[in-house]
């Protein structure tokens, strides 16, 4: 089944002196990325959104939960630049705080999937044999459960356990776990495939022959070599996580008001036909961020894959 893993070919040459070569590899990639204006701009846009997310409490003009019934459902005006929602909450503030939750869901879920999937895939690919077979069968099973059912079941079960005191964390755990359950599988596959490829390469065989411990080989030699494809994959996973969170909100299992994420806002918004500002602004935030991540992902893929650099 070699056909399923066609996309990335790393046989371009094994780095001999890793540090030097590695550095130039990354700076080369960065140079290439800079040339791709869309990706470069997207990169800064994402940094900008991340800053907004982190600094939300300081830059949001109002609180995301303070209600003001007398000022409900106002279109954009001089006080509430993006208008207010049905409870008179400031939309701009809710979108800014929404960035916080959406980005948190997107990034942390991706990181969590990476850790779990990475370890799983690395073990599977490195150890091989029956362990690999069992681990891969398990993944087959997880892959064939409709993700929706898994998401709902895991979401409900974990939401019903009180794992955290902090209400924000409490609101997020179910979603993190539900999304991670789906997310880590593809990363595990990717990492396994990469490990399988890299472990046959000369420099790794050399290190093994010299008696290096497997953990050292994996972290020092294999990991840097498969970092590229993983970063690309993460860039694609983050937006799809953000999308899935909004999807969960649609079912009523995502974040719940008063917490705000772009998914929550967009969900409230599409039902309110008479108040387009409720859907337009969160929709735009969602759209442009997704766009930026996808463009950056494309750019990174091209930049990190030297074979394609002349395109």
């Amino acid at each position: 089944m070699a056909a399923t893993e066609t996309t990335i070919d790393n046989s371009a040459g094994a780095p001999t002196s890793r540090n030097e070569k590695g550095k130039s590899l990354w700076s080369d990639a960065w140079k290439r990325l800079k040339k791709n204006r869309a990706a470069y701009f997207s990169f800064y846009f994402i940094v900008f959104v991340c800053l907004i997310a982190i600094l939300a409490p300081w830059i949001a003009p109002y609180s995301y939960e303070t209600q003001n019934i007398d000022r409900a459902l106002l279109p954009p005006n001089s006080i509430n630049w993006l208008g207010t929602d049905s409870l008179g909450r400031d939309m701009l503030s809710r979108i800014i705080y929404g960035a916080r939750m959406s980005m948190a869901v997107g990034i942390f879920t991706a990181v969590f999937s990476l850790v779990v999937g990475g370890i799983y895939g690395a073990v599977s690919g490195w150890v091989g044999g029956w362990v690999d077979a069992v681990l891969m069968r398990t993944i087959d099973i997880l892959n064939a459960i409709p993700s929706l059912v898994l998401l709902i079941l895991v979401g409900v079960i974990f939401n019903s356990l009180d794992l955290f005191e902090n209400p924000e964390l409490k609101a997020l755990t179910g979603i993190f776990l539900a999304l991670s359950v789906g997310g880590w599988v593809s990363l595990a596959r990717l990492v396994r495939g990469q490990v399988l490829q890299v472990r046959e390469m000369l420099f790794v065989e050399g290190a093994r022959a010299l008696g290096a411990r497997p953990t050292r080989i994996i972290t020092r030699h294999i990991f840097p070599n498969i970092l590229g494809p993983i970063i690309v994959m993460l860039t694609y996973q983050i937006p799809s996580n953000i999308l899935f969170e909004s999807f969960l909100s649609f079912i009523g299992l995502g974040l719940q008001p008063p917490f705000s994420s772009w998914g929550v806002l967009a969900n409230d918004g599409w039902r309110a036909k008479s108040y387009p500002h409720l859907i337009v602004f969160p929709g735009m935030a969602l759209f442009f961020t997704m766009l930026a991540f996808n463009l950056l992902g494309d750019g990174l893929r091209d930049a990190l894959d030297p074979k394609l650099k002349n395109r």
Partner: protein, 363 residues
């Protein structure tokens, strides 16, 4: 004409005829679905036998059966971890009545026995009765809603391929031109837009004519009565896969264009369109095929939102609501159907590899 060709083209013809009849709002003859299914299985079996893949396919089918069985078990166990039972309601039931109900559905038995009962039922092909839709066999619910979801899914996939691949080809053939950029912006927007924004947006424009009043009432805003009702839901569901396919086709075509054989062909003076459509496209379809499995999965789970937004009588909503209702037999039935479809879709994709690229050998 060989038997294989007859079977293969027959399959394509029957499907196309079915689609044409359906889109002309004519009733399909009774048993049409079975005819298509039977013919498809015959064609596939023939291909498998001729391609010496019997052992491989048997192995894959056994694996699939095992996967589905494990999923049944896993879901069964997970369900019992869900707090709250199927008969909890705002108005609490007197204990004696609850006891009667639980006895009727066998919920008073030990869990192990319930599990065995369930497996025995499965072996007989009996998925049990829904708790929520009192007395309705789960198999009936599936039989009545699956065709609609299938229709929605098939048209969306068709749209995705019929729009996505040409767009990808066009963009690749005019690489770095204005056309290319415009098409790719369109495609990447399709990937970035969630369906519950696309759907209502389409409704706003094509049903209520905002902002072009000439469009008012052009398309009905919801329901699933005749082909005109299909248009917006299919676009909503198919947009994202179409965009993904367009991007994938483009990038893999660009990759193939750089391949040596293309250079050779050009050097030999073969016309560029011939190279492009005959050689490049064919070789570019493998990644597109690879992603088709996950795309089917995406369309299956994405259909839920589209069904809700457009009030379509499909299966997606049962998948979600059965969990909120704790309707155990229905959840299990839905999960099994979905995972079976997924497993089969993946198998078909793998088999199609050999059709697209005879160099690939399975087994």
């Amino acid at each position: 004409m060989t038997l294989g060709k007859i079977l293969g083209w027959g399959c394509v013809l029957i499907s196309l005829a079915g689609i044409a009849l359906d889109l002309a709002d004519l009733d399909l003859p009774r048993g049409y679905g079975w005819l298509l299914l039977g013919w498809g299985v015959a064609a596939a079996s023939y291909a498998v036998v001729r391609g010496h893949m019997v052992a491989y396919v048997t192995k894959r089918l056994l694996e699939a059966a095992f996967v589905v069985f494990m999923i049944a078990t896993l879901t069964f166990v997970l369900l019992r971890f869900l707090p709250g039972g199927p008969f909890d309601a705002e108005k609490a039931l007197p204990p004696e009545i609850k006891a009667n109900i639980e006895a009727k559905y066998g919920l008073d038995k030990p869990l192990g026995e319930q599990y065995l009962d369930y497996l025995m039922g499965l072996a007989r092909g009996d998925l049990g009765e829904s708790y929520k839709y009192i007395g309705r066999p789960v198999a009936d619910i599936i039989a009545e809603t699956l065709p609609v979801s299938f229709q929605l899914g098939v048209y969306s996939l068709l749209l995705a391929f019929l729009v996505g691949i040409p767009i990808g080809v066009l963009a690749a053939s005019r690489h770095n031109s204005v056309v290319d950029n415009a098409l790719m912006i369109f495609a990447i927007s399709g990937v970035a837009l969630p369906s519950f924004i696309v759907g209502p947006l389409l409704v706003m424009v094509f049903s209520f004519g905002i902002p072009f009043s000439a469009l008012t009432g052009l398309l009905p805003p919801a329901l699933w009565e005749s082909p005109v009702y299909y248009i917006m839901p299919v676009i909503t569901l198919g947009l994202r896969p179409a965009a993904i396919i367009a991007r994938l086709t483009r990038s893999s075509m660009l990759e193939v264009i750089q391949a040596d054989f293309v250079r050779t062909a050009r050097a030999k003076g073969v016309a560029w369109p011939v190279i492009l459509y005959k050689h490049v496209l064919k070789n570019s379809l493998i990644p597109v095929l690879t992603i088709s499995g996950p795309l089917v999965a995406g369309i299956l789970s994405g259909s839920f939102i589209v069904e809700i937004v457009f009030g379509i009588p499909g299966m997606g909503k049962h998948l979600v609501q059965s969990v909120t209702n704790r309707d155990y037999p229905l959840i299990l039935g839905m999960t099994l159907v979905f995972s079976t479809m997924l497993v089969i879709a993946n198998l078909i994709v793998d088999l199609l590899y050999t059709v697209v690229d005879p160099r690939i050998k399975l087994g």
